[in-house]
């Protein structure tokens, strides 16, 4: 009987799957459900929630109309939070745009090199992936700092008289994010371009197409899956970024990530932070699902 039980598929499966399923369900799915729950209750005095819970939609309403907050002053801007969300999306789009514009030619350049060089250059693209993100952001910060290398270089050369304010503004955040996520864009685009048959460009030229036309009509459509993957892989983490806007923006640039963080810090409004987190998660999931719908498994495995 016991032997039969041990051999049964259900027993083996639960033994293998059980620990992982339990851990993920308890420490990942359940916490997300709790965020969902807390986003629908009123906040308590100390910033956490009222006990017993009072159900409300106010946290979501407040997102779209900041003036419904009990702390809103007389000259409040109802679209304050919508504006910050929009601002994050705009930063996300700008950063994604630059990552693709800079990354695509680089990926193309690498794909045209000899095998040895190609491998070496790809290692250079991959290394930043695995170096501590915080350390990389700090490295950029010290170059851009007021007394940093770039400013003192420009002043020594005589191009400027006063140090430029290169830190703690939107420019710094954008540069920091491009610096952080450029490798995420190069990798999938390289995977696509490497598979592209370059003789097709010669064929297009032979048939009378100008280089620009051949690129737009032949190469770009055929490497588009890589570009779309790059778009998703950069846009998704950038919209929810926290470390870069916090360090490079110095608390002056508000993005969704820093806004959520504040609800759990100084603002002590956990239910509102929970509501914002859910909206952010939905934004990201829509992007990821769209990507999975538009790509096949084969193109994804190349990444």
């Amino acid at each position: 009987m016991l032997k039969y039980f041990r051999k049964s598929k259900g027993f083996q499966l639960s033994g293998l799957l059980g620990p992982g399923a339990l851990w993920i369900l308890i420490f990942f799915n359940l916490p997300i459900l709790i965020v969902l729950f807390i986003s629908f209750v009123e906040r308590g005095r100390a910033g956490s929630i009222k006990i017993p819970p009072v159900y409300t939609l106010d946290n979501y309403v407040q997102l779209f109309n900041a003036c419904t907050s009990q702390f809103a002053g007389p000259e409040c801007d109802p679209l304050l939070y919508v504006g910050i969300f929009g601002h994050s999306v705009r930063i996300g789009l700008v950063v994604t745009f630059w990552c693709i514009i800079l990354g695509y030619p680089l990926a193309y350049f690498i794909s045209k090199q000899k095998q040895v060089w190609r491998d070496a250059l790809m290692v250079l693209v991959i290394i930043p992936f695995w170096t501590n993100f915080l350390v990389r952001t700090y490295a950029l910060k010290q170059v851009l700092a007021t007394e940093g290398l770039l400013n003192s270089f420009l002043m020594n050369v005589g191009m400027i008289n006063h140090p430029l304010d290169l830190l703690f503004n939107e420019f710094a955040v954008n540069v920091g994010l491009i610096y952080g996520y450029l490798p995420f864009a190069i990798l999938p685009m390289y995977a696509s371009i490497e598979k592209f048959d370059h003789t097709l460009m010669e064929a297009a030229a032979d048939l009378g197409a100008s280089p620009a036309r051949a690129f737009l009509k032949v190469m770009l459509p055929l490497t588009l899956p890589g570009v779309i993957a790059a778009l998703v892989l950069v846009f998704v983490p950038v919209v929810g970024a926290f470390i870069t806007p916090d360090i490079m923006g110095g608390g002056k640039i508000e993005m969704i990530g820093t806004l959520i963080n504040r609800q759990f810090g100084v603002s002590r409004n956990w239910p509102f932070g929970a509501a914002m987190s859910l909206i952010l998660m939905l934004l990201v999931l829509i992007g990821v699902i769209a990507y999975f719908r538009s790509s096949t498994e084969e193109t994804r495995r190349g990444i």
Partner: protein, 376 residues
């Protein structure tokens, strides 16, 4: 008209060649600029960690002062010890669970399998800050009140909650890496073992596990690196007192720019590049590299045992003796792979041999230094 045609073509060809050359030049410049952008700040960071003044703009002379300061900074050493403790526990648990999950998902068909697979990818794609706050709310609003009210246990956040959370985000990464290894797995090898009379357990032990080992070790090292590097999830699940390396660095970075942070960053950079290098070598290389790692781990532990032997004589404790015996056992156990390692090494080409020795050297340093940090 027909006589002119070839001339026009020649001109066109020349023009095309010029355009192509300009295009190539532009592409090359773009590549150089991007690699400069990606690497110069890091190179500058490393250079100025050796500066002998506090400036991070003018290099005034070489010194290792900042590294000496790091080695004597007790707050930092505590943070590093905590990071290692959390990282090691996380790695062991997440690797075991992630591997089992990958095996289950690869070999069994059951209801909701696709949904669960997608669910396993979710922690990788959702923003880290969302996962961080969800765990914060889970611990403080659900788990701790539950423990308090139902079981009367007073719980609070600390290294244990950080570890639990790190395991939760590391399982998916181990899962993905081991699953990729399983996708290339030749099931007929298992059938062959069964035909030769091995039972299920023996087949798993002698065939499946060794073949999966590169994926498992790769996944484990990846999990370790991710845990060591994580800031955002850690900051939401930490306790009041204990901090980890990234938390400590973050608090310094927010305050400003100093060569001390440069030195610390350089150390961390070298550590994580070493670990990831090992991970990638394990995943993509042959069995000779995983053997090099186990020999290296044994050597590292043995070296530490020798290094710390004088302290045992200076102040004898039972715990100290047991520790040395455990180290010795680990050393002997790992050292058993030395002979097969030599045999494998003879079969590899010269460049592979160099890589194998580098792999071993890196493993020895990583194991020795982390044991030293952890046990003092």
């Amino acid at each position: 008209m027909t006589a002119n045609a070839p001339a026009v073509t020649r001109q066109q060809v020349r023009q095309k060649r010029v355009t192509a050359r300009i295009g190539n030049w532009l592409l090359g410049t773009n590549a150089a600029l991007i690699f400069g952008f990606l690497y110069l700040p890091v190179v500058i960071l490393i250079i100025f960690s050796f500066n002998n003044t506090r400036s991070v703009a003018r290099f005034t002379g070489f010194s290792t002062e900042w590294y000496v300061r790091l080695a004597n900074n007790s707050e930092l050493l505590d943070a590093a010890r905590n990071s290692l403790l959390v990282g090691l526990t996380t790695t062991i648990v997440a690797t075991a669970i992630g591997t089992l999950t990958a095996l289950a998902m690869d070999r069994y068909r059951f209801r909701l399998r696709t949904a669960f697979d997608a669910n396993l990818y979710l922690p990788i794609v959702i923003p880290e800050i969302v996962m961080g706050i969800s765990l914060l709310l889970f611990f403080n609003q659900a788990l701790f009140p539950l423990l308090q009210n139902v079981f009367g246990i007073k719980a609070s956040t600390g290294l244990h909650t950080i570890t639990i959370s790190h395991i939760a985000f590391d399982i998916p990464f181990v899962y993905v890496i081991v699953r990729a290894r399983l996708a290339d797995f030749d099931r007929t090898l298992e059938e062959a073992a069964a035909d030769l009379g091995a039972d299920e357990w023996k087949t798993f032990q002698r065939v499946t596990l060794p073949l999966l080992m590169p994926g498992i070790i790769g996944g484990a090292l990846m999990a370790f690196t991710l845990s060591l590097d994580d800031y955002l999830i850690t900051v939401f699940t930490k306790g009041v007192r204990e901090q980890t390396m990234p938390l400590y660095i973050y608090s310094l970075v927010r305050r400003g720019v100093t060569p001390e942070i440069n030195a610390l960053s350089t150390a961390l950079l070298i550590g994580s590049i070493g670990l990831v290098g090992l991970s990638l070598t394990a995943q993509n290389g042959g069995v000779v590299y995983t053997r090099a790692m186990s020999v290296g781990a044994g050597l590292g532990l043995g070296l530490y045992g020798l290094f710390s032997l004088p302290t045992l004589f200076a102040s004898f404790t039972i715990g100290g003796l047991v520790l040395r015996l455990l180290l010795l056992a680990a050393f002997v156990w790992m050292w058993r792979s030395y002979q097969p390692y030599r045999e494998e090494l003879n079969l590899t080409n010269p460049s592979g041999r160099i890589l194998a020795w580098i792999t071993m050297f890196v493993t020895v340093s990583v194991v020795f230094l982390s044991t030293l940090l952890l046990l003092g």
